[in-house]
């Protein structure tokens, strides 16, 4: 005779196994896509953490329009300025979010937009400085209602 407790344990085991089987392939695929997107921007140059500040709400109710601010510490002079700011996500169908190209005439290295965040994941901002170095900041966000899931509802 199988007890309720035993049955639930087995069921839980199956669910965990199914998830373990499903996830890694897809996750690896998305991770590879993000790495490829980052490489396309940096050309394989090392990306250091710092200087960049990515601001997102840590808990997102609705992933369809998430306010996103990227600021980079920079004097924005002709000799030392931010050339570009790129934002990537780990688990959206496509890793790129936005690429902004600035120059010394921007005055301040700050951009603001609204993004779609598909899932609980890590969002990364990478800035390219005028000396060719790359700096980044990442943030883990939790999404309760994700974007891109309304498939078939329209």
């Amino acid at each position: 005779m199988i007890s309720r407790r035993h049955f639930l344990l087995v069921l839980g085991g199956f669910a965990a196994a199914a998830q373990a089987q499903l996830d890694p392939g897809r996750q690896a695929q998305r991770k590879a896509a993000m790495e490829a997107a980052v490489r396309a921007v940096t050309g394989g140059a090392p990306v250091r953490e710092g200087k960049v500040k990515l601001e997102l709400p840590p808990l997102i109710d609705n992933g369809n329009a998430v306010p996103l601010v990227v600021t980079v510490e920079s004097p924005m002079s002709a000799a030392d300025h931010v050339r570009a700011i790129h934002v990537f996500t780990e688990r959206n169908p496509q890793p790129n979010v936005v690429s902004a190209f600035l120059g010394p005439r921007a005055g301040r290295a700050r951009i603001e937009t609204r993004a779609r965040i598909a899932d609980t994941q890590t969002v990364t901002a990478i800035a390219q400085l005028s000396d060719g170095s790359f700096w980044s900041d990442s943030m883990h966000v939790v999404v309760t209602l994700s974007a891109c899931l309304e498939e078939g509802l329209i």
Binding site: V66, N92, Q94, A100, F101, A106, G107, R110, E112, E151
Partner: protein, 106 residues
Amino acid sequence: MARVVVRVPAQAKRGEVIEIRTLAAHPMETGFRRTQLGELIPRDIVRSLVCTYNGVEVFRAELHPAIAANPLIVFTTVATESGTLELHWSGDNGYAATHSAQISVV
């Protein structure tokens, strides 16, 4: 209809950093959604925004499907001289919108 809202201060001091806020009315269809019959809805997004200050490009952004509908972009520029700021949005299916704003620098 290409409808765009742009907010630029009408007046600024020379050398002041001004903030430009712009929003385009656009559905930003991602190309990943399907209809009830399972057909993929083709992608229809705004792909780029270019800002020129008296004809010189000062800001450019490339957008991807991960930008929310009615894309909002906020950026800054230094008020160098009186003149015209022009914003050009362009996207899939021949979407194009241009908005120009006057700024007087004192």
